[in-house]
């Protein structure tokens, strides 16, 4: 019998006070297996122990919400008896250690969450963060992650339709890989991850259990140091073929009605699936590990319970209907094996060849996991970084030079190098191609479409986490609205540093408060998400990076638009106000090497009005194109409107904002929120201006489409003048050039 001492507890990531709580919940000393269960289930990754008190403040209800947080994924009603099932999840730590497999298994994990709900996955998006592409490490991680994202999604046949990629040296030791999956289900076809009915058999299906990924959840809940490479065995290897079979078989088997509950085995593997299903259903579960299919010999119950081998599912089946389930799996050459049964009471009982080896109240592992209200403290440097005096930066560079430089900054440049490796056409639902503001997919059998966007701005959140998080919600909603989608639901991925540091906890608390404020104002309920903490390497945290995924509904999928100008001679209108705000901008970071200032101001009621306006303009067919203004400001936005347009240029006069010598650059590159550039043809201009006025949204005619150049004047003086062909070439090849042909 192993002795549980301080060293054992430390290896399991269990703090002394947590062990006291375990003793109390168990009423006795746990054995090593039981301690292992607590270790993974109480890890930050599984228990959300640091973030839970904050997450509870988020708005999670609404008339369209079919499933809020707490299940494998959230769901919102999209009409016609159907719902959109979606969730975002991170795989940051594994992707640093082994980029290809880390990213691939991240994709596999979120796909399982969606089909586990009974939904057919139809689209994937991702939000990625890497260090500067100037470094070989960042290039290697970027290359591996993109290949892994593609490798898994392409094989399984779920299109990767969009996302965002940001490069900043703050992520050099800690890349972010956040993946969103969207699926469609009948509302009455949703299956939950709850066990029910004592005596009902519990089945295991999918890949065999190996020693891979043991303590993956615990690893993802610790900081990195120079020994992190030694943690490679804790990263799992993905098998998209197995997952494809599982997905088809599970969707088919759920249609039989014989499946009462189902859950995938992701983080914390069998431990999590057995305890969560029991706990959700208010029942117990008894399993015998000898029945669990094993890839290796001599595995202990501890290893079997904690393994994070991929592509495995646990099902509770109605007693007497086992054959229906087995038959479907056999058709797909999968073997469903009974590993246990639902029992009365609320305990998880694990046996090894009939001998009871663990006996834990399952709620002790789940709902009764510790919840921390960790101390929060505003960082001492917070006010300093918000202080920005343009005069201190020296003379501003010429607008033309800044424009040309910004076009080739990897964060702004075309991400074709990445999405050219993603199959985005499989499934024949993809309306808006990757590289547009939001992805748009149609829902077969209906006239409806769904627009989806993932957004986050770590720089803004570093400067002001509350406002930065609000800006992320606003941008994701705006992107969806710019494709004609009415935002109806959101999912969030919170990527932060070590929550045991009060400054990090303050960032997290402020960011969640910002998400809540913005979601309430914009009518976007949060239906689920993921928290990734300890994103630090050698004591240095990433920028606080909440990523928001927003799903928007298009009642008529044919009424959508993209950022690209559609015809020459159209009027270019700016909706919203250009305030010339340079704080936290890409311009400031690239041209002055500075991350400083106040992030752009955000008036949520104006933002809400703007989003409603653009959705109604697109539905009414009044605008040809719509593009949200973000990184690089108005100048880059206008340039992007000419890209992929077949060479339709623009001549615009942007007025002038800002002061003195800074005027042109503040006007062109400031990243004020709540702005959309639209192009309007012929006699529709009057209607657009009238609608904007009625909505209380500032609308200004700033120019015309046409010609083959991008010509921007600030206050009557030409500031930028570039041939589209040159600008587009520079923008579209910048990342490939940096990556080389390797």
């Amino acid at each position: 019998m192993a002795v549980i001492d301080a060293a054992v507890l430390e290896r399991h990531g269990i703090k002394p006070d947590e062990y006291e709580r375990i003793l109390e919940l168990m009423g006795r000393e746990p054995n090593l297996l039981e301690l292992g269960l607590f270790s993974v289930m109480w890890s930050e990754h599984c228990s959300y122990k640091s973030s839970r008190v904050h997450l509870r403040t988020l708005p999670t209800t609404g008339s369209r919400v079919v499933q809020g947080p707490g299940e494998n994924a959230g769901a919102v009603d999209i009409g016609g008896g159907l719902c959109a099932v979606f969730k975002i999840e991170s795989h940051n730590h594994p992707s640093f250690i082994e980029p290809y497999q880390g990213a691939a298994t991240g994709v596999g994990g979120i796909i399982r969450d969606i089909f586990t709900m009974g939904a057919r996955p139809i689209a994937l998006l991702n939000a990625l963060r890497f260090g500067s592409l100037a470094t070989p490490l960042a290039r290697r991680i970027f290359e591996g992650v993109v290949a892994g994202v593609g490798g898994y999604g392409n094989s399984i046949g779920i299109p990767t339709v969009g996302g965002e990629i940001v490069f900043d040296e703050m992520y050099s030791g800690n890349p972010l890989v956040n993946v969103l999956c969207l699926g469609i289900s009948r509302i009455d076809g949703i299956v939950k991850g709850a066990a029910k009915g004592a005596g009902n058999p519990v089945f295991y299906v999918g890949a065999k259990t190996g020693r891979d990924g043991i303590h993956g959840a615990t690893m993802a809940s610790a900081e990195f140091d120079e020994k992190s490479a030694e943690k490679r065995p804790a990263v799992q290897v993905g098998d998209p073929f197995m997952e494809k079979l599982l997905m088809e078989a599970c969707i088919e088997v759920m249609k039989t009605g014989a499946v009462l509950g189902i859950q995938d085995m992701g983080a914390a593997g069998l431990s999590c699936a057995t305890s969560e299903m029991g706990s959700r259903g208010g029942v117990g579960m008894a399993i015998d590990v000898m029945h669990v299919p094993q890839r290796e010999t001599g595995m202990t119950p501890y290893e079997i319970m904690l393994s994070e081998s991929q592509e495995r599912m646990l099902l509770v089946v109605e007693k007497g209907r086992e054959h229906e389930v087995i038959e479907v799996f056999e058709k797909w050459d999968l073997h469903a094996v009974q590993v246990g049964e639902v029992i009365d009471g609320t305990r998880l009982k694990i046996h090894e060849r009939g001998v009871l080896v663990a006996d834990v109240p399952n709620r002790a592992l789940t709902d009764e996991a510790p919840v921390y209200r960790r101390p929060m403290k505003e960082p001492s440097w917070q006010k300093d970084v918000q202080h920005l005096v343009p005069g201190d930066l020296g003379a501003p560079p010429a607008a033309q030079a800044a424009f040309e430089r910004l076009l080739t900054v990897p964060t702004i440049a075309s991400k074709r190098w990445a999405y050219g490796q993603y199959d985005h056409s499989v499934g024949t639902n993809t309306i808006a191609q990757p590289g547009m503001s939001a992805a748009v997919v149609r829902v077969k059998g209906t006239t409806t479409g769904l627009a989806v966007s993932v957004d986050g701005n770590g720089r803004f959140c570093y400067l002001d986490p509350h406002r930065g998080a609000m800006l992320a919600v606003a941008e994701a909603g705006r992107n969806v609205a710019c494709a004609g989608g009415e935002p109806i639901g959101g999912t969030n991925n919170l990527n932060f540093g070590n929550p045991e540091r009060p400054e990090i906890m303050w960032q997290l608390g402020e960011a969640v408060r910002g998400i809540g404020d913005a979601c309430r104002a914009l009518g976007i309920p949060i239906t689920g998400g993921n928290v990734s903490l300890y994103n630090e390497t050698e004591g240095r945290a990433i920028f606080p990076t909440p990523v928001l995924g927003v799903v928007g509904l298009l009642e008529d999928a044919s009424k959508t638009t993209t950022r690209a100008f559609k015809r020459a001679g159209a009027t270019v209108v700016l909706l919203g106000d250009n305030l010339g705000e340079l704080g936290g901008s890409e311009y400031l970071a690239t041209m002055h090497g500075k991350v400083a200032g106040q992030p752009p101001a955000l008036d949520l009621s104006r933002e809400a009005a703007l989003q409603k306006l653009i959705v109604s303009l697109i539905r009414g067919g009044l605008v040809d194109s719509a593009h949200d203004c973000s990184e690089g400001g108005l100048a880059i936005t206008l340039a992007e409107c000419t890209f992929n347009s077949g060479g339709i240029g623009v001549t615009a006069d942007l007025g002038a904002v800002g002061e003195g010598a800074w005027q042109p650059n503040a006007t062109l590159f400031g990243e004020s929120a709540s702005r959309i550039v639209v192009s309007v043809s012929g006699d529709r201009l009057e209607a657009v201006m009238a609608a904007a006025k009625a909505a209380g949204v500032t609308a200004a005619v700033i120019g015309k489409t046409g010609g083959d150049r991008i010509q921007l004047r600030v206050g009557g003086t030409t500031a930028v003048d570039a041939a589209i062909v040159d600008a587009e070439q520079a923008w579209s090849t910048a990342i490939a050039t940096q990556m080389g042909r390797r």
Partner: protein, 233 residues
């Protein structure tokens, strides 16, 4: 007419082909499981894209042993039209129903985009409704689409007019720059000597609705309808 679309474990464009043939083109269509032995009265057979059996050995290498393949061979031997798309093309190569082989794209990476392809031959059941040298825009999505054949086979393919599609530019010029994956002679698709078995890497079934970016691929399925109508006349 009736299109039968095969479903191998790992097929991922099976439903797309089924949907294009039935919902878009308006013909009968059936999904046929690879363990079946009957083609369900097919007038034309489609081997869809995907990664049959995981493609862990060579693309298409295991699928040729599926029970349904005997029926497909017999159907082709009787002159029945068979279309292999992407992974389905790779299966036909592995099954020896078309000559040559696929290797890794020359630029190593997976390629996913809409590409122009020039129709070289209009006397196959899948190009009968095309104009000669018509340029079709269709998506490609593959990591191993680099067509290879030994010099004799390649010469025979050209001499017998078995190259049905080539990667070209939008104007229909076949150039080195338009060769997306390193295929010999810019080959995007070929047929057998009898001309009834056709394989191509681009996805016509994903290009049947303008809303999705291109409807150019409809003509491939429409060709089968036309070819069958002229046969039964």
């Amino acid at each position: 007419m009736k299109f039968s679309v095969l479903v191998f474990p790992g097929s991922n464009s099976d439903y797309d082909a089924f949907y294009a043939a039935s919902a878009v083109i308006g013909e009968d269509a059936a999904l046929v499981w690879h363990k079946d032995t009957d083609l369900q009265g097919a007038d034309a057979v489609i081997l869809p894209g995907g990664f049959a059996h995981g493609d862990y050995l060579r693309t298409g290498a295991i699928a040729r042993f599926s029970p349904i393949m005997a029926a497909v061979k017999a159907f082709a031997d009787r002159g029945g039209p068979v279309l292999g798309i992407c992974n389905g093309f790779q299966v036909l190569l592995e099954a020896g129903m078309l000559p040559g082989a696929m290797v890794r794209n020359d630029r190593i990476k997976f390629v996913s985009r809409l590409v122009p392809v020039r129709v070289e031959q209009t006397d196959t059941p899948f190009t009968a409704a095309c104009a000669s040298r018509q340029v079709l825009h269709m998506p490609v999505a593959h990591g191993e689409g680099n067509y290879y054949a030994d010099p004799e086979t390649l010469a025979a393919l050209e001499a017998n007019r078995q190259v049905v599609f080539r990667y070209s530019d939008a104007a229909g010029e076949v150039t080195p720059a338009s060769n997306i994956n390193g295929s010999l002679n810019n080959i995007a698709g070929i047929c057998n000597r009898q001309r009834n078995v056709v394989g191509l890497m681009p996805h016509p079934e994903r290009a049947t609705e303008a809303q999705l970016g291109s409807a150019d691929g409809r003509v491939i399925l429409a060709s089968a309808v036309k070819a069958l109508a002229s046969l039964s006349r």
